[in-house]
């Protein structure tokens, strides 16, 4: 008995030790939860206690290279409710529905919803300041007004495909708004208050404010002045020709900066919801692919010159109107052909058989090597969505016929931006640049440049000397050949026309062309390359030289002023020998002339007279201006005697 009682005592002590050890273990566990897991649990717990009233960041502006705002924000607050804090839902629903113009039942549904926080979508989102003030004046418990903004595009349709648009949550959906959404968007902030599990504010705990981080401003390479000129010319062309579409790109050939880009049909970004996605999804200057036509001859020419296969001045070529390649007859666009000509004239005349000859001299391997080196068949990598890459013949499937047509721009499919980048490389001394449109990311408050996008030179394709020769040849195209309508006095414009028959279901369409012109200026040191293509212009001769070249010429005229390009000497003199392009008339000085004397002066000008009297007081255009024959001259007549009458 005593021995067993001893066992009992021993085991009691063991039990005490075990029990105390277990108490120690739960104490350690308590410490582990409070110290080791403390931060994690506190963070989670605060998330579960807190209700966030979001504060939207300001989306960054999109600016042109001179800080003209192209996309910006208008203040438009959003109304939130915390349903559990609403004391009299029926009355509040009535008040809100009155101010916001939403049905009472809908408002009631929102404010009685079992949720921590509710947006009054869509009537209470992005409201006017006036409505926000009215709501603020009502001072309803549980109704909050959060800073918010609405995207705004001051120029409407202007540059719309490039800018794209942002949706109601300020999220970029299309164009640059989508491409640079991460940078433009910023970070959401909020006011955080602690609430109990039933949604009421917990007493004695201060609200926390986390300020939103505004998005960065995006400064583009676009020059809004150039863009304005392009948009205006496209509007005019659209009115004049009623085409299916128009594409225009202006680029700085020396670094790949896009100075302007536009297309038709266009749309107003604010109204994107009413626009067909086919329109806003397709940024034609980078998306569309088609046969380039003769503008592509620039590539063949550059390749042949680089390989020393032709001397433009000395080598002669006889164009009999067609050439036989691989059993097929390839016709020149001019029936009967251009006859005997130098290769410079081949370029000026855009003579197809002449370029077949150049392609033949190059051979298919070299021709296609240059085509690829100039960037065709691959995306340029421009920072815009939806870029196409075009189609080239596979080299092993290129026969003599395919090589021949490729040499003058048929049977290949390219994008406008590829052509611009390639021609820029041809004329800038041979350097192929990646086109780009975002220049800098800027802190919207301080204006500090946070990121600079630098030009990216991909490769050198041809020599400086070849480049110079091509420039000369293309300047002569404008001065003396098919591109005369792009001529700008003193600017030395060079360029090439293109007229490509459209293909549908593998067949050429009847009387349906994409007419284009790619130009650059000044020819001695190009500062801009402009490409314009008009898809199926109506009621006109469908020639690049007739339709697209004048558009480029008009844009060039503006750019000369905008970029302050000095007038050049040493230009190739313009030839006036075509019915398409009559010699201009120099406007004489009419001021001070008597009405009777005028008759003898007016051979090829029309007069629009205004005022009364016999003496010309003012004239427009000014004397010395070159105008086309049969242009209108406005004259304002006055009586000398009238001046004397007034003095009395």
């Amino acid at each position: 008995m005593r021995a067993t009682f001893f066992t009992v005592k021993k085991r009691l002590v063991v039990s005490l030790i075990v029990g105390l050890s277990l108490f120690l273990i739960i104490s350690i566990r308590l410490g582990y939860v409070q110290f080791a897991l403390g931060n994690f649990l506190t963070e989670r717990a605060e998330d579960s206690w807190s209700r966030n009233v979001p504060f939207e960041p300001q989306r960054g502006d999109i600016l042109d290279r001179n800080d003209v705002k192209l996309a910006t924000n208008q203040s438009a607050p959003t109304i939130f409710v915390v349903p559990r804090q609403i004391e009299n839902p029926t009355q509040v629903a009535k008040q809100l529905s009155d101010v916001l113009g939403m049905p009472v039942q809908k408002a009631y549904k929102h404010i009685t919803k079992v949720t921590s926080i509710e947006r009054l979508h869509p009537e209470g989102r992005k409201v006017t300041l006036d409505i926000a003030n009215k709501i603020r004046d009502l001072d309803i418990k549980g109704v909050y007004i959060a800073e918010d903004s609405r995207r705004y595009y001051p120029y409407g349709k202007y540059l719309s495909h490039v800018l794209g648009f942002a949706g109601i949550d300020n999220q970029g959906l299309m164009g640059l708004e989508a491409y640079y959404d991460k940078e433009l968007k910023g970070e959401e902030g909020n006011v955080r208050f602690f609430s109990d599990a039933k949604g009421k504010r917990m007493p004695k705990i201060a609200d926390q404010y986390q300020s939103p981080v505004d998005g960065l401003d995006l400064r583009l390479t676009i020059d809004s002045r150039i863009q304005t000129a392009i948009e205006r010319e496209l509007d005019n062309a659209e009115a004049l020709y009623n085409p299916e579409g128009i594409v225009a790109i202006a680029m700085n050939p020396n670094n790949g900066e896009i100075l302007g880009m536009a297309s038709r049909p266009s749309f107003n970004p604010i109204e994107y919801q009413t626009v067909s996605p086919e329109i806003y999804n397709r940024n034609l200057p980078v998306w569309s692919t088609y046969e380039p036509g003769s503008t592509f001859k620039i590539i063949t020419l550059a390749a042949a010159l680089e390989e020393n296969l032709v001397n433009l001045q000395k080598d002669n070529f006889h164009d009999g109107g067609s050439v036989e390649v691989g059993g097929a007859h390839l016709h020149c666009w001019k029936s009967g052909g251009h006859g005997s000509q130098t290769f410079l004239e081949v370029v000026q005349n855009s003579c197809n058989p002449g370029f077949v000859e150049l392609g033949d001299r190059l051979g298919k391997a070299k021709l296609f090597k240059y085509i690829k080196d100039f960037g065709f068949g691959e995306k340029t990598g421009i920072d815009l969505q939806g870029e196409g890459k075009g189609i080239l013949f596979k080299l092993d499937r290129v026969g003599p016929l395919e090589a021949a047509t490729t040499a003058f721009g048929q049977g290949v499919s390219v994008t406008p931006i590829q052509q611009v980048a390639a021609v820029a490389a041809v004329v800038n001394g041979g350097y192929l640049y990646k086109p780009y449109i975002a220049k800098e990311l800027v802190d919207s408050k301080t204006g500090t440049v946070l990121k600079k996008f630098t030009p990216e030179m991909k490769r050198k394709v041809i020599s400086e000397e070849t480049s110079k020769q091509v420039r000369y040849a293309l300047e002569s195209v404008v001065a003396q050949g098919t591109g005369k309508n792009a001529f700008v006095d003193g600017l030395r414009v060079g360029g090439k026309t293109g007229t490509a028959q459209k293909v549908k279901d593998g067949r050429y369409m009847e009387n349906n062309y994409i007419v284009s012109f790619i130009g650059f200026a000044p020819a001695d040191k190009p500062e801009v390359v402009i490409y314009v293509a008009v898809d199926h212009p109506r009621d006109t001769l469908q020639f690049g030289g007739t339709v697209a070249a004048p558009i480029v010429g008009n844009i060039m005229k503006d750019i000369k002023q905008i970029l302050d390009i000095k007038s050049r000497k040493g230009a190739i003199a313009k030839e006036y020998n075509s019915w398409l392009d009559p010699a201009p008339i120099i406007v004489p000085n009419f001021v001070g002339m008597d009405k009777s004397k005028l008759q003898t002066q007016l051979v090829e000008l029309k007069i629009e007279a205004s005022g009364s009297g016999n003496i010309v007081k003012f004239q427009s255009p000014a004397p010395g201006t070159k105008v086309k024959p049969n242009s209108k001259i406005r004259l304002f007549f006055d009586e000398e005697k009238n001046d004397k009458l007034k003095k009395k």
């Binding site: 029990g19 105390l20 108490f23 308590l30 410490g31 717990a45 039933k198 917990m202």
Partner: protein, 368 residues
């Protein structure tokens, strides 16, 4: 009747520790329940007032029972046990037993209802103390000592599991095992039984899907944060932010409807939140002192019966504390047992105080 006018005085230390725990409990029941009480009954003191009443009744019972000499329990242990069994069988019969919190564990009418399983714990402790003290030599044998004892324990456990109430059942079995161990059973038997016990426990858990859910939720409560893991996550959200000193008395955030019924099983979470690690350890320290005092009484008890009775009582309280705090801190799966002296609840509080009364009576005859 059983009063002895020359009774020695009870262990005053045990009284002080008990009353300290009771005081902390009353304060914390008020603090943790005020928000909920105000919301539900528009009276912040609703639970606190009732707990005060229970505490009064409990202390009265503790005092009264401390004057009833302990051998009475030996004398009536069989009767008590049979009564407990009758109640325990009655409670699982639908129509007699009432379902509260998912278990059919209450019997009686309204405020006068009781939990037979709570009584069973005491009844079995009394009976085992008597049986083991009278058959101490037999307990070293398996067939005629250990097996019948365990059979009895497991019949009681089985009845409790019919409710089902795993928490109370676990406390009951663990308490009995401690008593059998103390009384001198062979260690080798324990090793074998331990292995069987583990297998049995696993079997029980696997037999009921909700137990598996609780097991999973205790390993990673965030797998099902709104279901099985909800209580433990809310408990940890209270304890975690408490830190060393706590948010201050009355400053709990989790009591704002996040932690369901914070005044009952999870009151320790609110203590750790408001009073911090310091407060939590202080409470655990009070329970450690209680354990130490209880074992000391058992060590110096006048006979084997009273020694085993004291052991049973102090084991029961301590095991309940360890399981409850283990659950609240995420160490064990959620089982739903109260924290003695602190959790709100009349049945639990008065019975615990009454059993401390028995312990106090033994202390009158112990040479501490």
């Amino acid at each position: 009747m059983a009063k002895n006018k020359q009774q020695p005085s009870p262990d005053i230390f045990l009284v002080i520790v008990t009353l300290s725990l009771l005081t902390v409990g009353l304060i914390m029941v008020y603090s943790s329940s005020a928000i909920w009480a105000n919301y539900k009954f528009e009276d912040a003191f609703y639970f606190a007032k009732r707990q005060m009443l229970f505490a009064g009744v409990g202390v009265l019972a503790m005092y009264t029972i401390s004057t009833i000499d302990y051998w009475v329990w030996k004398k009536y242990s069989k009767t008590i046990l049979i009564l407990c069994f009758i109640l325990l069988i009655a409670v699982v019969i639908p129509g007699i037993g009432m379902v509260r919190g998912g278990a059919r564990s209450w019997i009686g009418v309204g405020a006068f209802s009781i939990q037979p399983s709570e009584f069973m714990k005491f009844g079995l402790i009394c009976f085992l103390a008597k049986y083991l003290s009278e058959n101490q030599k037999l307990i070293t044998t398996f067939k005629s000592g250990l097996l019948p004892t365990l059979t009895l324990v497991f019949v009681a456990f089985g009845l409790i599991m019919l409710q089902p109430d795993l928490g109370t059942g676990a406390v009951l079995v663990a308490t009995c095992v401690v008593m059998i161990f103390i009384s001198g059973a062979r260690i080798s038997h324990f090793v074998w039984l331990g292995m069987i016990g583990v297998l049995g426990f696993v079997g029980l858990i696997l037999s009921a899907p909700y137990r598996i859910k609780r097991i999973i939720s205790f390993i990673d409560p965030w797998q099902d944060p709104l279901g099985a893991g909800f209580q433990i996550i809310q408990s940890l959200y209270a304890i975690g932010p408490g830190g060393l000193f706590g948010l201050g008395l009355g400053q709990s955030r989790q009591k704002f409807y996040y932690l369901p019924e914070p005044q009952t099983d999870f009151i320790f979470a609110i203590i750790a939140e408001e009073l911090g690690f310091i407060g939590g350890v202080f409470v655990i320290l009070l329970f450690s002192l209680l354990l130490w005092r209880g074992i000391k009484i058992a060590l110096s008890a006048p006979d084997l019966f009273s020694s085993l009775l004291a052991t049973g009582i102090i084991s029961m309280v301590s095991i309940q504390v360890i399981i409850n705090i283990g659950v609240v801190t995420g160490l064990f799966p959620v089982t739903g047992i109260t924290l003695p002296f602190l959790s709100y609840g009349g049945s639990s509080l008065t019975l615990t105080l009454a059993t401390v009364g028995v312990l106090l009576n033994i202390s009158r005859y112990s040479k501490i």
